[in-house]
Amino acid sequence: MSADARTRLGDRRIRRRRAIDRLMRGLLWLAAAVAAIPLVLVLAFVLIQGLPAFNLALITQDPVPAGFPGGGVAPAVVGTLIMVGLGTLIGTPVAVLTGIYIREYAGGRGATGIRFLIDVLAGIPTIAVGLFAYGLVVVPMGTFSGLAGAVALAVIIIPTVARVTDEMLGLVSGSVREAAYALGIPPWKTIVRVTMPAAATGIVTGILLGVARIAGETAPLIFTALGNQRVTASLAEPMDALPLRIWVYASGPYDAWHQQAWAASLVLVLLVLTFSILTRFVLRRRAARLA
């Protein structure tokens, strides 16, 4: 075989490899595009359908009776803010401390066991969590309440945040911990001053994902918060939430309801988006300051 022929053979092989490479890259790109399409479509659709009924009255006024024009979803906006806020306040400390315990204290077998339990909790359908909160809070209190809704949401946010905290602490390099120990810093202080700050950005991102998730939950609120046509700040009374209101309006017969359901979806998307952008902004400033 001449050198020329060998080169030609090599050319062909390289060309074939390049072709396969291009094909595979193309397939991966396509998969990524397919994954992104629903997001783009959902956002575009919510925008197009929601904008016509999206105005100040929507978020400042109470619902008006069916068949009458106007009105808004103020009780749902207020209720979602209160219940998601309270649910996060109840759930996050428990979750972060659980994550710290798993990673820093539990030890091999204990950590595996707790991780398994947390994963099982994450896999429970949220409507079952709603029924749990119903039995725990609604039945003893004898009434549906915003508190019951917040408890259900707290239970849902716990596994997400606990696992993220666990994973993020695991990413902190061992040499950083060892350096702290070498300086004679006790373990608790190492966690508070060294490991946690290093993992903070990741943990906050996890909390953010959790908040976004519970903000959109409908099922666990049906039998806990129930819904309310009026703005209320009382945790002992039934409370409205955006997903609940969207659910009721979307399945109703009236066109005005359908429009408000779309606009309310837009409000919900914007709420989650604003919150996530704000948090990222704060985190970036904090990171810049630390640097």
């Binding site: 009255a57 009776p65 069916a66 009374e237």
Partner: protein, 397 residues
């Protein structure tokens, strides 16, 4: 200087009091400013129409004053939601600003379950409680009819603009799977002089347990021996054919999307979605369009024979009511006969609200496509409301 300071604190206290006072007031009556703040000014359109019965003249003097505060919670039937949430808001605006009736549509089944669990002050269901359900609750309960509506036969026939007439036997035949095309001779016989298209029939029904299904299947059982022996009546039945949709909204969507489809839905869903509704033959042999008036006629026909506990259906009215639509339905509010004394404020507010709802509230029914109660029934419902007690004491005189 000291006086000056005290004056400042005093002013602060006044401001605080006003602010908190305003806050708590706005929680109770925040529906009122809907017109004040809104560019759409809906409050103006919520003005009372000329009502048939003047509430003030029939209102028993209860201790509910305009300044009492009470939060009443109810849940259940989706069908009654538009009307009940409307009258609750109007009642608060016009009668008792401190009384907030919060009603949530979780479905009739959910309403009965929550009523049994005693987590709500009242339930609402599109079908009255059965003896077994009442026994399960363990305490005496009351079934109070509140509003009536029609289960409409709606269909999707592209290009067809006329009205389709259905005899009960034809509807039974379609839902039994025996009539499968719109050009079937049975349909042709119901619609003389009308050419129905050569198009397959797709049957749509409810997939969830539903009062609409209960009334629809009761009507078919009453009129078709074949239906009674093979399928029967119930909240959900074993459908021989067809596709299921969740709620009236689900059935409406199925019919809208499927050429050749037929379904039974609450009249309001068909009207609001601009779907055609079929005329149904009643016992007198007339084909009747589902309207508010033809439903009220069915109620009027059923009331004289209604039992004292008001558990009755209004389907298939007798031939003596020539203008009555045969597939009517009702929604009941479920009350306990006796409430604990600790709930006195809420219960008084609730009963006064319901009293207002069966009188003045009925005039808002038409605006949301529901039918008002027959006057004879109002008298019977008054008697039931008067039997409610709190801690053993009657609420109404």
């Amino acid at each position: 200087m000291a006086i000056d300071l005290r004056a400042r604190w005093g002013a602060l206290a006044v401001i605080a009091a006003v602010t908190f006072g305003a806050c708590s007031a706005s929680v109770g009556s925040s529906s009122a400013p809907a017109g004040a703040g809104g560019g759409n000014a809906p409050a103006a359109s919520v003005a009372a129409p000329a009502s048939a019965v003047d509430y003030s003249s029939v209102s028993p003097s209860t201790t509910i004053g305009k300044n009492d505060k009470a939060e009443v919670t109810g849940a259940g039937s989706t069908a009654i939601y538009p009307w009940l949430s409307a009258v609750a808001q109007i009642y608060q605006q016009q009668v008792a600003p401190g009384v907030a009736v919060n009603y949530q549509a979780i479905g009739s089944g959910g309403g009965i379950a929550q009523f049994q669990a005693k987590t709500v002050d009242f339930g609402a269901s599109d079908i009255y409680l059965s003896d077994a359900q009442e026994q399960q609750i363990g305490v005496p309960v009351l079934n109070v009819p509140m509003i009536h509506w029609a289960a409409a036969m709606t269909y999707n026939l592209p290009g067809f603009t006329g009205e389709v007439r259905f005899s009960p036997a034809t509807i039974a035949g379609i839902y039994l799977g025996k009539i499968t095309n719109w050009n079937d001779p049975a349909l042709a016989a119901d619609n003389p002089g009308v050419k129905l298209p050569n198009l397959g029939i797709t049957v749509a029904h409810r997939s969830d347990g539903s009062g609409t299904t209960m009334n629809f299947t009761s009507f078919l059982s009453d009129t078709s021996p074949a239906w009674k022996s093979t399928v029967g009546a119930g909240l959900s039945v074993n459908w021989p054919v067809g596709a299921g949709g969740k709620g009236s909204a689900g059935v409406t969507a199925l019919v809208k999307q499927t050429p050749g489809a037929i379904g039974y839905v609450e009249l309001s869903y068909a009207l609001q979605n601009n779907l055609p509704v079929g005329l149904v033959k009643n016992a007198a042999g007339n084909f009747i369009k589902p309207t508010l008036a033809s439903t009220t006629a069915a109620v009027a026909a059923a009331v004289p024979n209604a039992p004292a506990d008001l558990r009755f259906l209004i389907v298939n009215p007798p031939a003596s009511s020539p203008n009555a639509y045969p597939i009517g339905a009702s929604t009941w509010v479920l009350l306990y006969k006796d409430y604990p004394a600790s709930k006195a404020t809420e219960v008084k507010a609730m009963i006064d609200f319901l009293w207002w709802a069966i009188h003045n509230g009925q005039s808002y029914a038409a605006q949301v496509d529901y039918s008002a109660m027959a006057p004879d029934l109002v008298t019977k419902v008054e008697a039931v409301l008067k039997s409610v007690t709190v801690g053993g004491q009657p609420v109404l005189p």
